[in-house]
Amino acid sequence: MGVTCVSQMPVAEGKSVQQTVELLTRKLELLGAEKQGTFCVDCETYHTAASTMGSQGQAGKLMYVMHNSEYPLSCFALFENGPCLIADANFDVLMVKLKGFFQNAKANKIETRGTRYQYCDFLVKVGTVTMGPSARGISVEVEYGPCVVASDCWNLLLEFLQSFLGSHNPGAPAVFGNRHDGVYGPADTMAQYMELFNKIRKQQQVVD
């Protein structure tokens, strides 16, 4: 797993989500990227059940259980600012058994699906973020395989992003600031996706 940057692409003026995605993919193909199939990242929200809060009177914590098609045998469970657990795919079944402690907020299920492109050592994924039946936004993920230290190659990633995103300028993800010289891992990518999904959930619905 190399250093990854996940950002949201704003929908172009006067165009729908699908048209903007098509524009992006066409630019990528002109650049010379090779289409390599599809990808899917989804996220489910769990509330801490009321019965466990009891006398403490704390607000319920939200837990996100995510899957990434890049790691088909794994399941990621993370809290907002807390630790991230990387577990086996059977973790979903375990969550069903933990119904007493964590309750699934089914309406908040959000996912992004799209195509996966390979360009030299870069892996680019452009996906449409959907919540239920409606498309809410566009997610762009770029991974640079050879490097595992975030601070070393952020400039390179930014340059590459600008070459096909055009005027949109993504800022450095927060996870990069947390670990300066630490090895980048898939948990950081899922944290970025979680932030993206939360931001999109708060946005108003995009008119299709």
């Binding site: 050592d121 595992v148 190659c153 090895v183």
Partner: protein, 282 residues
Amino acid sequence: MADVLSVGVNLEAFAQAIGAIQALRSSVSRVFDCLKDGMQNKETLEGREKAFIAHFQDHLHSVNRDLNELERLSNLVGKPSENHPLHNSGLLSLDPVQDKTPLYSQLLQAYKWSNKLQYHAGLASGLLNQQSLKRSANQMGVSAKRRPKAQPTTLVLPPQYVDDVISRIDRMFPEMSIHLSRPNGTSAMLLVTLGKVLKVIVVMRSLFIDRTIVKGYNENVYTEDGKLDIWSKSNYQVFQKVTDHATTALLHYQLPQMPDVVVRSFMVSGLSKKFLPLIPPD
């Protein structure tokens, strides 16, 4: 006996028929020659025309005669004897492949191609000889008799010495760590880890560096058996290019008499690869 007789008749008529074919061919070519030469010079136009027509008629008659002779002889030759069936070899005469193969043009292309190849090979050998890549201490052209009988000593070093040299280099640079192992006999295999950027596998032959492979920090350098994988290339194009540079470096640094200096310079050149992630891909 009957066999020989029947064969004998056929053979005579055969030979005569072949002669008749040659006669027919020559008379036909005479007809065409006559047409090609056209009318010969005579005083009057009529004279010329008459002479031409007379000649032409003569030639056509001779063609007719030869053709009749050939027909008569071919009837004499008859069918091949039933006792000697030819089976498939009799079909050889029907083989049309030779007519359809553009033999001459293909031969010509092959000739031109081999000429070009020879020319390019000459140029390439001239260029390559300028950069001598021999890493042994023996000079070229020294005959076997004059070569010293003693083996070059730099190739037969005690493994302990090699270990010492490597551990000394290991201590020289803080961000570079070298791990030595000998899974296949006496030749050392080094796994050099450079910061968190890359790993280099160096295969050595006593103190001479034989091969290098550069891989990313997160790539697997061991095979399924747990042994060091010295053959598979990196998955990333960046590191494949760096492997090419490293191989060039190891061929460039040559000092047959002082191999430890060579190893040290090679490691120093490897340090610059730490700044790799800043180089954009081509």
